[in-house]
Amino acid sequence: MTRRVLIVDDEPNIVTSLEFIMRRSGFETAVARDGDQALEEVERFDPDLVLLDTMMPRRDGYEVCQTLRAQGRTDLRIVMLTAKGRETEVAKGLAVGADSYVTKPFSTRDLVALVRELLPEEGP
């Protein structure tokens, strides 16, 4: 069964590159450009993992993450993507329930490896 990855970012170029990389790695993808869309897409697309940018218009990534966890989506893997690499932001991301945290700019191979690790083949 193909795993679904939802890509949430407001930078078109980043979205394009992530979409390509995830598809190439065998994931089914969907895209959201802001926090509100992200919540809608989670409902509609029902992803296994979300690549979530922190700095977005409307709801930011932390808020989205918190909301998702509050909705009881504990099985959903969430990876935060941020351009701010400070320790406090990493801690904040993990505190609101993210599974992992990636600082921009990132290595595409490392990101794919991280996603694969979080989504083992022999899942449910």
């Binding site: 980043i14 390509f20 351009a83 700019p105 595409t108």
Partner: protein, 909 residues
């Protein structure tokens, strides 16, 4: 007219009444219910100033010279105004150091000098014996007038044998009375409450008597003030008395006022009642208005009585006796008797207080120091009795001296002249006392020199002539000078004539006194103890006598030894009581063999000072204390310490205030720095974010291209394009960040010149033409035909216009995009408007779009690929060029960004 026995009985009866009052006063004082603890009593006791000289002599003086009698009362009224400053200080010093006389005060101030105390005492006695004689003369004369059936013409003094002279008996009676009340026991405070009560009563009696006789003359013999004045005005020789022009001139008026000011402060009897007998500083306040009122009342009828006497008697009767002669001549014996009692009050009050004060001075400052020098007496027991004996003998001796002077010398001089001679002698103390009170530089040698010079001048210019008036010396002496040397003539010293004798004497003696005192003091040579005393006197109001001062009595002794000395003056019981009291207060060990500390030595010394004077007390204590002499260095150290500590503490306070101020400034600066630091952190964090975002795309696409060499050309191109775009974006961002940093730091060079904005606008639109074409946005230029130049940097304005045009294109309507650029002139400025037909700037964003990295247009589709720095940079540039940049407040659609620039000043061509 009044039988002798009646006069005698009344006189003795009156003294008996005084005795009763004084006795009651002392009893109540012992019982702790003082009747003199009252401002009114204090003021009345100070009225001892008004003697028989006032009572009889004022009228005599007024009859002779009109208002010439007034200065004697004006002086005290002037002094009263500075009482709170001067007298309070003296009182405080005297109480603190148990100083009980004027002589002791001077001695103590100038280093507890026995010599100076003795000199003051001698001068006081010399100067005051005539004054005492004056009172005896008044008693004697009025006694004679009262009983003399021959009428008011005064019998010449000295015409009766000594043993029949009432003056002698008056003197002896007064001596007895004074001894009983002034020297009953030896007390450290030297207060005489009973005596003060009696004196206050006497002041009341003399005032009432004088007012009664004054009213009687004015309203009884005449028909009120106006009647007397009207009748006097008819007689030319009397009319002159009514004018303000004195017969003696204003110089005399001035000098007499000064003289009486000084005398009022420095007469031993005034010192006694005002300083020694003062029980509460606050009484000064009451007395400050009550005493002048008293003087006013007692002088109210002086001129009416004088004029009335002259109208009735003419020159037949001595004007000094008018007060008594008028009721006598009118046949009113009872009134005459009342007047006599009033005069008796004035005379006895003065004699009692003056002799007590003088006897204290003689015993403490003259006799005791001499006696203590001989070891035999110093070692004897019960010196207290000896002190009392000395005082009693002194009182008798003073009165007998007064009587002798009265018999020999007063015949030729009026009451006023005698009084003034005394006043002038007392005035010689002024430089030493007042100088010592306010000038630390006044030294013992200076005070000594001043006093000697002053009193010698006084003797020569006032006393000597009074002898020649009495016929002891040639009558011509005052004018021609001794041995015919006119320069030394007592009434015209060094050729200075034209002044009356008293003014002349005051001028020269004060000149000599002050001159010598200041000159010798400035020459230096103060001993350590003088410096200490100078400091504690002058600074009396500022600091209490502290333990530091007693260091000067550094030495060793035992409590037992001190007790031995004390016992000789206050008895064994008193001594034990004093020591126990001290122990209770200080918790010091006062066992017989215990070492006495410096404070105890000082305490004993001050107890003794009350009894025998400060100088003698010092001498007594030093007989049992092995003193280690203090060097000048050590004294200066002690003195300096006190003042330095003050100076240091002030400096410290100043410093700490400065520090507080500085630390507050630092705190403010620190808060600003923290705020700046936070802003910088935010800025760095934001810039980092803005840099990371394009870098992320670049890296991701690069890695995709690297990892996927099999991509078809279209895909390759699609991935390469963003790499190039994002690289441009990065470059732009870096440039702008640097640009803004430079602008904000003021590091930009401005090339200011007159600029035609039409040219800049045209250039900018040309540069943006490609952009407009790409987005298919129409550009409309609205340029006027003439436009004044602005002062600006055209490159920078170009940069701003590019930014605004770029924004306008970006936000213009995607379908039918239209941008308009307009130029217009407003009050000294040229305004540039850049208008688009996009969605407009929402009100909430209008302010923040000028903040760094705050980009407008929040929908992701319209998201501009800007840096968020364009507008902040533009606003900074326009601001620096003296203009404003803002966004129009018209709600959308369409946004208008406008800026102004100042018109260049046109050169006159």
């Amino acid at each position: 007219m009044v039988p002798t026995w009646v006069v005698v009985v009344v006189s003795v009866g009156y003294l008996g009444l005084l005795f009763a009052i004084a006795y009651a006063g002392d009893r109540r004082a012992l019982a702790g219910r003082s009747i003199i603890s009252n401002g009114a009593i204090y003021a009345l006791s100070i009225a001892v100033y008004a003697t028989s000289w006032t009572y009889y002599g004022s009228v005599g003086s007024a009859a002779e010279g009109g208002i010439a009698w007034l200065p004697i009362y004006l002086g005290p009224m002037v002094v009263v105004t500075v009482w709170w400053v001067v007298l309070r200080k003296i009182i405080r010093i005297c109480r603190r150091d148990r100083i009980t006389s004027l002589a002791d005060f001077v001695a103590s101030r100038y280093g507890k000098s026995q010599l100076l105390g003795g000199l003051v005492t001698v001068i006081a006695v010399l100067g005051l014996v005539p004054y005492i004689a004056l009172q005896l003369k008044a008693i004697s004369t009025t006694f004679t007038i009262l009983r003399d059936e021959a009428g008011p013409a005064a019998a010449p003094v000295g015409s009766v044998p000594v043993l029949q002279d009432t003056g002698l008996y008056a003197a002896l009676l007064l001596a007895a009375f004074t001894i009983v009340f002034g020297t009953r026991h030896l007390d450290a405070t030297e207060r005489h409450e009973g005596m003060v009560a009696a004196i206050a009563f006497e002041s009341l009696v003399k005032l009432v008597a004088f007012l009664v006789v004054g009213a009687w003359v004015t309203f009884g013999l005449f028909d009120g003030f106006s009647d007397i004045v009207a009748r006097a005005a008819e007689r030319p020789e009397l009319a002159e008395l009514l004018t303000l022009r004195t017969t003696t001139g204003y110089g005399t008026f001035f000098w007499l006022t000064v003289l009486s000011m000084l005398a009022f402060l420095l007469l031993p009897r005034q010192w006694q009642v005002a300083v020694v007998e003062n029980v509460d500083e606050q009484h000064l306040r009451t007395a400050s208005w009550l005493f002048p009122l008293y003087l006013l009342l007692i002088n109210l009828f002086v001129l009416p009585i004088a004029l009335g006497g002259l109208l009735i008697f003419g020159d037949d009767v001595d004007a000094d006796t008018f007060v008594l002669a008028l009721p006598m001549a009118d046949g009113s014996p009872l009134l005459a008797l009342l007047v006599f009692v009033g005069g008796l009050s004035a005379a006895t009050g003065m004699v009692i207080v003056e002799t007590i004060a003088l006897s204290t001075m003689v015993s403490n400052s003259l006799v005791m120091p001499l006696l203590l020098r001989s070891r035999g007496i110093a070692g004897g027991r019960d010196l207290g009795r000896l002190v009392l004996l000395v005082r009693r003998v002194t009182i008798v001796a003073l009165l007998l001296l007064g009587f002798a002077y009265f018999r020999i010398a007063t015949d030729a001089l009026g009451l006023v002249q005698i009084g003034l001679i005394s006043f002038a002698a007392v005035a010689q103390f002024a430089p030493a006392v007042l100088g010592g009170l306010y000038w630390k530089g006044a030294t013992h040698a200076g005070a000594m020199a001043g006093l000697v010079a002053g009193i010698l001048t006084w003797g020569h210019t006032l006393l000597l002539p009074s002898f020649s008036d009495s016929g002891w010396l040639p009558r011509s002496l005052p004018v021609e000078g001794p041995f015919g040397i006119e320069l030394l003539a007592p009434y015209a010293l060094l050729g200075l004539d034209g002044l009356d004798p008293v003014s002349h004497a005051m001028l020269w003696s004060m000149l000599a006194n002050v001159g010598f005192m200041v000159a010798v003091s400035l020459a230096g040579g103060a001993r350590p103890v003088e410096r200490v005393q100078a400091a504690v006197f002058v600074d009396a109001m500022r600091r209490p006598r502290g333990p530091g001062d007693t260091v000067l009595l550094r030495g060793t002794t035992t409590v037992g030894a001190l007790q031995g000395v004390l016992e000789r003056f206050v008895g064994p019981g008193g001594a034990r009581e004093a020591l126990d009291g001290y122990a209770a207060r200080t918790a010091a060990d006062v066992g017989q063999d215990a070492d006495a500390d410096a404070d105890l030595i000082h305490h004993v010394e001050s107890l003794l000072a009350g009894a025998v004077g400060t100088a003698s007390a010092r001498a007594l204590v030093s007989t049992v204390v092995t003193e280690e002499p203090l060097g000048m260095d050590e004294v200066m150290e002690i003195l300096d310490e006190a003042s330095q500590v003050r100076a240091y503490s002030q400096a410290l306070e100043r410093k700490s205030a400065e520090l507080e101020e500085a630390s507050a400034e630092l705190r403010r600066a620190n808060e600003q720095l923290q705020e700046l630091d936070r802003l910088k952190d935010d800025f760095v964090s934001t810039v980092t974010h803005e840099l990371r975002t394009p870098l992320t795309s670049i890296r991701a696409f690069s890695e995709i291209l690297l990892d996927n060499p099999d991509l078809d050309p279209d895909e390759r191109h699609g991935f390469l394009r963003p790499i190039v775009d994002e690289t441009e974006r990065l470059t732009r961002l870096i440039n702008q960040v640097l640009d803004l940093a430079k602008l904000e730091a003021g590091g930009v060079e401005w090339h200011l010149a007159p600029v035609d904005l039409r040219e800049v606008v045209t250039a900018a639109t040309t540069a943006s033409a490609q952009l407009f074409r790409e987005r298919d946005v129409a550009l409309e230029l609205d340029l006027p035909t003439t436009l004044p130049d602005v002062t600006a940097d055209s490159d920078r304005v170009f940069q701003v216009l590019l930014n605004l045009l770029g924004n306008a294109v970006k936000f213009a309507d995607p379908e039918r995009g239209r941008v308009r650029v307009g130029l217009s002139v407003h009050a000294g400025e040229v305004q540039v408007d850049v208008e688009d037909n996009g969605p407009g700037v929402p009100e909430a964003e209008r302010k923040v779009i000028f903040d760094k990295f705050r980009q407008g247009g929040d929908t992701h589709r319209d998201r501009p690929a800007g840096t968020g720095l364009g507008l902040p940079i533009s606003r900074e540039i326009i601001g620096r060029l003296g203009g404003r940049l803002w966004v129009g407040e018209r709600p959308g659609p369409g946004a208008t960004f406008s800026f102004t620039l100042p018109i260049a000043r046109t050169e006159p061509s």
